[in-house]
Symmetry: D2
Subunit: 490 residues, 4 copies
C-alpha cells in the first residue's frame, strides 16, 4: 500500500480500488499460475503489477506499469521468472515520481537470505515505525508502508525467519494480508482482525493463496478455506502445511465493502456468495424504499446484481437503460462544439429508446463524491425519463478508509457533508434512498449487537474503526499530506 | 475492407466483426469529434484506426494499430489533424504483412486534388476490377478493395469529382458505405441496397455521419436520418446539403445481423431500437422453444438483451450465471498443472454458487463454429448445473458473408455442416433451439414475401445474396485464398 | 530522392549529404550482405534505411528511421527478408510528414510482377513527368521523384521489363544510379553522364553493386569495375551478366564533390583513391596559398587528408588542434549561465594547450553557409591562437546541386553572395584561401578544355550544369518550394 | 562501480572503460549543465546515465540506459530535474539483471535528509563491509559498491553530515572520486591517493566538478584546479567553499592510464596536457624502438597522438592507413558467403591504395587481449603492406585493475601470459615494441625512485598496487565471481 498518496488521484473511476495478491508454491509453472491468478484479480488494481519467483536458489523479479496481460502474458516474460514458487501483486496507483519502486512484491537480501513480500492492506502506524527505523540507519527504497515490515524483519534479533516475522508483525497495526517468500517456503498471513481477504486453495500438489476465490476458478484450483484472522500458514517445499496463531484468538472483522463493491460477484467472501449478497441488498432496498416505476435500471456493471434483486423483489422489470462501453480508459479531447458535455457518455450511454417517457429506478452500489451520480441522473433525464429515482446498495459512505482502500479524505465524501435529502437535491434525483445499515447486515448475514456489527469492519459507514490509527489520528481534521520521502525518481 | 484475408484470424472472439466509419464537416474540432465518434464505434473494429482531416488547404493523416484511445486521445495526436473536416475508420484486422498500408481512410493526390475515403463494406468484384486497372499501369499501395474505388475515380474521364465518383461506383458491385473527402467538401454514400449502415446527424452547424447512431449520442450530436440506399449526400463548406440518387430507386436490403450482433444495443438501426429488437427476438425464442428451468443465463454481453426478453416472456428469472471479465485480450501461458483447461474462464467464469443444482437456459446471439458454445455448456456443467438448455437469438448461420463481415469460410460454419440435433450433440447441451427465420422477421418488424425477406439482407441465414459475387463465384466450393499482392511490407 | 524538401533541414551538419545504395544477387544471405554493405555507406545518409529482398516467389520489405544498425542488425530483422537477392538504400532526410513512405527501395506490383528500385540521384524533370502521369490517373504513394520511374515503367507499352525500363529512362533527365529488382533478376544502371557513383563487385558466386567500393571491403567482396555512364547491367538468377548501352556513348561527368567530401577516403572513385585525391588537393593548396604558421590543424574528420597533404607539402607540422567528439547527434538544452555559447563545442573542442599562442592553418573541405567556419575560427581564437589562417580544400561553392545532393538554395550559399575577401571578413580569419578550380582538376587528375572540365560535373563550383533542368529552371531566381503533394501522413 | 561484474562483458571494445561524474551547484540550470558535462564525458561510459537534482526542498532523479543524448537532451527530461544543484554519472556496464538499480547517482533518505552520491572508482573492501552491514539489518537496493558508503553514512553515530561522511570514508579502502549532494550543499572528494581524477571549475557564480577538464570546455566553465588526493571540498548554497583534509597529507598516485587511454586528448590531467603526453610517448617509442618504414599508421582514434609524435620524431610520414567508421555499435549478422571474416572492418578498414606495397609502423595505445591487434595486422597484410611493425604507446598490461577500470582477469591479459617475442608471434607482426616503463615516466613527467614511480598508480604495468585489496586478495589466483546478491530484477 502506498502511504504517500492515499488521497490523490481520486477521479470518478478510481475512488474505491485497492490491491490483489496471489501466490503458488510447489507448482511446476508457479509464475504462469501467478500471472493468470493476478489477471483474475485485475479488477482490484489496474495500474501496476509485479511477480517474484524462486527456483530453489535465486529469486527473480519483474514489474511493470499497466495490466497483467501487458506485462506477463508472453513466454519470454515468464521465462525470466523460473521456479516452483511465485507470488504477485496488482495495485491501483503508481502516482507520483515513485515509478516502479513501489510496485510489489518488495524484495530484500537479508542476512538470512532473500525475502519477498506481497501486501494487501495498509499499516496504520507505518510512519511512526519508519521514523524510528531511519533514525537507526535504515535506508528505504520505496515510499510503501510494506517496506516497514521488511526492515522490522531485517533488524529483528530473533534467530528464525518465522520468529522474526512474528516479531515484526507484533509492532505493526492496521490491515494486512501478506504472502511472504523465503528460501524455506511460503508464509501467508492475515492481520488479527482479518480486515482484508485471503483464501487458500489447492491445485494438484501445489498450494495457492489469493485475495479472492475467483482466481482459483480461473487457474483451475480448488478453494479450501479462508486464511483465518491472525493466522500464519507456512508451506514448505516438502509440502508440509503448518498453521500458527501467534496473536491468540481474535474477533474477525472482514471489510464489508468487499460484498458491496470490491470482490467480483463470482467470488465467495466471508463464507457467502458475493452475487447473492448483492442481490439480497437489492431486495432489502426494494423492501425498505419501494417506488412506483416502469423500469429498474442498473448503473453498469457494479449495480447489476442489486438491480436484479430489486427487480425480482419489486416486480418492476429489469432493463438495460444504460449501456456501458467496453472501451473505457483514457480521457478524450472534447470537441468544443459538441452540443453538451458528453464526457460521461464515453463510459455510460443512455438507451434512449427504452428510457424515453418512463419512470425509472436507478441502482448503484454506492455514492462517494456524488458527481458521477449527478451526471447519470442528468443523462437519464436528457434521454427522456419522466422520473428518476436513485437507490443505493450501501449505506451512506461517510468515513475514510485507512485499511488499504483508496477513498478520498472525509471532506470530499458527499455523505460526510450532508444528509440524504440534500444529497438527493445535489444529484437532482426525484427520490434517493440508501439501504439501511441494518438492512445491509441482514443481506450479508450479519447481526448487530449493542448497536455495532461485531462480524465486519464497516467503518466507512459507521466510523467504528476496529484498530488504533497512530499515523492518522489527526488526519480527519487536517487532511494532512503523508509523505515518507520527498524524493521523486523515475 | 481487406480482400486478402477475409477468412483468416478467426478465433472465437474475432468471428463476427466488421468496420466502423465516422465523419464531420464544418466542425471547429473535426478531428476531436471524429476520434470520439470512432471511440463509440470501437466495438465494430479493434485492430487499427485512422483519421484524415482537411484544413482548407492540406489533408493530414494519422494511423495506428490498436484502439482509438491509444492513438487519438492526446492533444498532440489531434494537433497533427487540424481543420474543420475529418473522417476516420476503425477496422478489425491488419493480419498479414500489410502493416499500416491498409488502414483507412485511404488517401490519394489526384489530378483534381486530394481524395480521402473511409469504407465500411466489401466490394465483391474488386479483384476483377483491379486486374484490369493494373494491366493499364495502375500501381496499388494496399491490398484493400477500397483502393479500387480510388483508382476508378482517378482514371474516370468525367470532369467533376461527383461525376467521377458516380462513374466509379457504377462499376462496383457489393456493399459499401463511404465517407469521401475532397477539397470541395464531404460526400457520404451507401450502396444501392444499403447493406451496411450509415446515418446522418447534426452537431450545431456541422454535419456528421456515422455507422451507428450511438456515435452521435457520445459526441453530443442529433440523429437526423439514415443515408438512404443508393443515396449520395454532398455537404459543402458553405453548409449546403445536396442529395443525389444516381442509381435510381432500389429495394433496401440492410444487413439483419446488425440487429442480431453488430450494432450496440443503444443504437437505432433501420428505424428500430437494436435493444428492443434483441429483446423481441428473446421473446420469440421463449414462445417458440420454451423450457422448464430455474434460471435464464445470458452469455455476456451480447446475449443479455435477448435473455431479458426470454425471461420476461417465460417468467423464468434472469440471473448472471456467467461473469464476464473486463480485462480480456492477450492469451496467457497456461500453467501445466492447472487442474483442467481453463482458457475460456479468463473471459467467462461460472457464478458457481448461483448455478449449482439449477436447470439453466443459456442465451447467446449466434453460433458460428460451435467451439465456444461447447466450452460454455461444459463450464456450466462443471459449476454444477443440473440441466443446460441452449437458446440462440438468431437462425443457424449457414452461409459466409461477402459484404464486409469477417465470417469463416462455409466449411467452418457449424450450421453449414449439420442439422440442429447433431449441433446439440456437438455442444453437449440438453436441448438446443434457434429462433426461426420467421420469428426473426417478426422481431425486427420485417415480413416474408414469396418465401423471402425483401427488407433485409439475411444471406448468412438463407444464402439469398442480394448482389452478384464476381470474385467469389467459386469460393464457396474452393475456399480459395484471395490475394491481391504477394508483397509483404513492414 | 526527395523532391519536396531539397532545401530544408539545412543545419550545419546536414548540408552536404546524399544517399547510398547496395544490392546483391545470387547470395545465400543477400539481405545480411546488403545490411552490412549499407552500414559501410552510412555516411551517405543517416536518417532512414530500407531493404527489399526476393526469395524466388515473393518480395519482402522492411524500412525504418535511423541508422542501419538500429534497424537491420538483428537476426529477427533479417529473417523478415529471406531470399538470394536483396537491395537497400540509406537516405539523409525524412523531413516533412512523409514518414516512411519515401524510404526506399520503392516497391510496386506491376502487371508484369513485382518491381523494386533503389535510387541515388535526382531526376530534374520529375515534376513535369508526374503532372502528366497524374493527369492520366496515376496515383502516387510517395513524394519521391523515384516513383516517377516506376509509373513510367508501369505505363510503358513495351512488352519486356528491360524495354519498359529503358523506355522509362529515356523520358527521364538528371542524375540516377539505380538498382532494380524484378522476378527475373537485378538491373543496375547509371545515367548517361554517370553523375552519381555505382560500382560492381563479386563475392564468391554472387554479384554485388554499391555506391562506393568501401562497401565491398566491408562485406568481403572484390571490386570489379564501375558501372559505366549510360550502362545497364542485367544479372540473372543463372548468373548471366549482360551489359546494355541503350543511350549510346556519352561523356562521363561524375560528381567531383565525391572526391571533395562525400566518399569515404578508403573508397576508390572514378579510378582514383579518394584519400590520395584529398591529400593532393591539400598539397595544391599549400603550393597556391602558403602561409607562415606553427601548426596545420584539420577540421575533423573531413579536413584531415587535405591537412596531411598541406603539412607534408609545406613542412608545417600536422597537429590535432581540434578534437572531435564521437557522440554527436541530438542538440542539448543550453544552460543559461554557461559562460559563452558552447553549442559547437559538443562536436568540436579546441585542444587548448596545443593551440595557445600558436599561428595555425585550419583546413576544411568546403564552406557552405559559413556559420560553422566562423564558429571554429572563433573557437581557435578563444583557445589562444595568435593567428588563424583558413584554407579550403575545394573552390567556392557558389551553385546549388540538382543531382541528389542536399545543398541549400543559392541565396544561402556564402560564396554565391560574396567574394573571398568579404568571406574572410565574415568568418573572421586572418587569411582565407580556396584551392583554385585548376588546382582541383590537377589534384583529381582532370584537365580543362575550352575553360571547362569535360571529365567531371563541377556545377556546384562553376554553374556548368551538364543536363537541362526542366523543373528547376526558375528556381535559382525564385527559390521556389517544390511540392509534389500537400498531404502530410504519419 | 559494479562489484558484481568487474570481469564480464570484455569484448574488444569494452576492455578499458570506466566511469565519469559531473556536478554543478548554484547554477540556474544545474541539470542542463550536468547533462552537457556528462555528454563531454561520454567516452568514459556509454551504457547508462543518471542525474539527480535538488531544488532547495526535494531531490529529483532520472536514469536511463544508453547515451546522455538519448536520455537528457530534451527539455521534458530536464524539466523533471529542477533546481540549482545537480550531479550525474555515466557508466560502462549494466550487465546482469540489475537493470537500472545500479545506475548512479544513488540516492537515500537518511534521518538527516536526502543523500545522493556519484562515484568513479572502486572500493576494494566493499564485500567485507557489506557483509557486516547486512548482518546488522541493512537492506541493499543495488549490487553497487557505492551503496556501502551510503549505509556507512546512514549508520554513523556522528551528528553532522560531513563527520558522518568522513567516518564512513575512513572505513573504505580503494579508489573513489565522489560528488555528494545533501540538503546543505555539495561535497566533492577524492581518495587519499587520488587514483581517479576529479577537477573543480567555475561557471559564473556556480561551482562545477568533473572527471575531466574537457567537460568544462564544453559547458563553458573555467578550470580552477584538481581536487587534491584526500581532499573534501564542501560548497554551500551561499557559495562558501571549504577544503578539508581529514586523512592528513598523502602521496598522490593518480592513474597513469588516464594519460595512456582514458582521458580525452583535449583534457589536462595531473597538470599535463593529455595530447602532449601521448605525443611524447610516441616520441619515446620512436627513440627506443625505431624502424625503417614508409608510413606511420595510427590505429584510430586512440593511437593518433602517439603516431603523430612517432612520425615527427622519426621523420617517417604520418598517414591514415586505417579508416575508422563513425557508425560503430551493434554487431551485424555476418553473411555466410562473405569472402573472408570481415567483422573488424565494420569499425576499421584498410586504406588499401595507400598501404599496398608499403612498410608500415602501426601505433596503438595498448594491447589487452591481443585479438584486435592480431586482426589489424592481418588486415594490413591483406591490403598489401609489405611489412607491418607494431609499436605500443604503453608498457605491457600485465596486471588487472581493482580501482574502477573494467579490465579482464589476469589470465586473459596477453602480457600476463607471455613475453614480447611470443606476443609478436601471436599478433603476427614483423616486429613489436612497447614503450619502456621509464620511457613512459619520462613522457608524462614522472620519475622513478627506488625502482618505483611514486607519482602515479601504474599497477596495471608493474603490479605495484598502492592500497590493500581486502576483497580481491585471492582473486588473482581464482578469478572468483564476486556477487553481492543473487537477486535478478528487471
Amino acid at each position: 500500500m502506498n502511504l504517500t498518496h492515499p488521497f490523490l488521484n481520486l477521479d470518478g473511476d478510481k475512488l474505491r480500488e485497492e490491491c490483489g495478491i496471489f501466490g503458488a508454491i510447489n507448482a511446476a509453472d508457479a509464475s504462469a499460475a501467478t500471472a493468470l491468478g493476478l489477471h483474475a484479480l485485475q479488477h482490484r488494481g489496474q495500474e501496476a503489477v509485479g511477480i517474484t519467483s524462486f527456483d530453489g536458489k535465486e529469486f527473480f523479479s519483474r514489474r511493470g506499469l499497466g495490466h497483467v496481460a501487458e506485462n506477463f502474458s508472453s513466454s519470454e516474460a515468464l521465462a525470466e521468472l523460473p521456479g516452483f514458487m511465485a507470488a504477485g501483486h496488482v495495485r491501483y496507483s503508481t502516482t507520483g515520481g515513485a515509478g516502479l519502486r513501489n510496485v510489489q512484491p518488495l524484495y530484500a537480501d537479508l542476512a538470512s537470505g532473500g525475502f519477498a513480500v506481497a501486501h494487501n492492506g495498509n499499516i496504520s502506524n507505518a510512519q511512526a515505525l519508519k521514523k524510528n527505523l531511519v533514525k537507526n540507519g535504515a535506508i528505504f527504497q520505496s515510499t510503501s508502508d510494506t517496506e516497514v515490515i521488511i526492515h522490522l524483519v531485517a533488524t529483528s534479533r530473533y534467530p528464525t525467519m518465522i520468529d522474526r516475522l512474528v516479531d515484526a508483525l507484533r509492532l505493526v497495526e492496521g490491515a494486512y494480508s501478506l504472502i511472504v517468500m523465503t528460501p524455506e517456503g511460503m508464509i501467508a498471513c492475515r492481520d488479527p482482525l482479518g480486515i482484508r481477504p485471503l483464501v487458500m486453495g489447492k491445485m494438484g500438489d501445489s498450494v495457492v493463496f489469493a485475495s479472492e476465490s475467483v482466481a482459483f476458478d480461473v487457474v483451475g484450483a480448488e478453494l479450501i478455506r479462508e486464511v483465518e484472522p491472525g493466522e500464519l500458514i507456512r508451506v514448505s517445499f516438502e509440502g508440509e502445511i503448518e498453521s500458527l496463531r501467534p496473536f491468540g484468538q481474535n474477533n474477525s472483522r472482514p471489510c464489508i465493502f468487499e460484498h458491496v463493491y470490491f470482490s467480483r460477484p463470482d467470488s465467495v467472501f466471508a463464507g457467502r456468495s458475493v452475487y447473492a449478497a448483492r442481490k439480497a441488498i437489492g431486495e432489502q432496498l426494494a423492501i425498505e424504499s419501494p417506488v412506483e416505476a416502469d423500469l429498474v435500471v442498473p448503473v453498469p456493471d457494479s449495480g447489476v446484481p442489486a438491480a436484479i434483486g430489486f427487480a425480482q423483489q419489486s416486480g418492476v422489470p429489469f432493463e438495460l437503460g444504460i449501456i456501458r462501453s467496453h472501451y473505457v480508459g483514457r480521457t478524450f479531447i472534447q470537441p468544443s462544439d459538441s452540443a453538451r458535455h458528453s464526457g460521461v457518455k464515453r463510459k455510460h450511454n443512455a438507451n434512449r429508446s427504452l428510457v424515453a417517457g418512463k419512470r425509472i429506478v436507478l441502482i448503484d452500489d454506492s455514492i462517494v463524491r456524488g458527481t458521477t451520480s449527478m451526471k447519470i441522473v442528468e443523462m437519464m433525464r436528457e434521454a427522456g425519463a419522466s422520473e428518476v429515482h436513485f437507490r443505493v446498495a450501501s449505506p451512506p459512505t461517510a468515513h475514510s478508509c485507512f485499511y488499504g482502500v483508496d477513498t478520498p479524505e472525509r471532506s470530499k465524501l458527499l455523505a460526510a457533508q450532508m444528509d440524504v435529502e440534500p444529497m438527493r437535491s445535489f444529484i437532482k434525483a426525484d427520490s434517493l434512498a440508501f439501504v439501511s445499515i441494518d438492512g445491509l447486515y441482514r443481506a450479508v448475514g450479519a447481526e448487530k449487537r449493542n448497536g455495532k456489527c461485531p462480524q465486519f469492519c464497516d467503518a466507512c459507514f459507521t466510523g467504528d474503526y476496529p484498530t488504533t490509527l497512530t499515523d492518522h489520528s489527526e488526519i480527519e481534521q487536517k487532511s494532512a499530506q503523508l509523505s515518507f520521502a520527498d524524493h521523486k525518481a523515475a
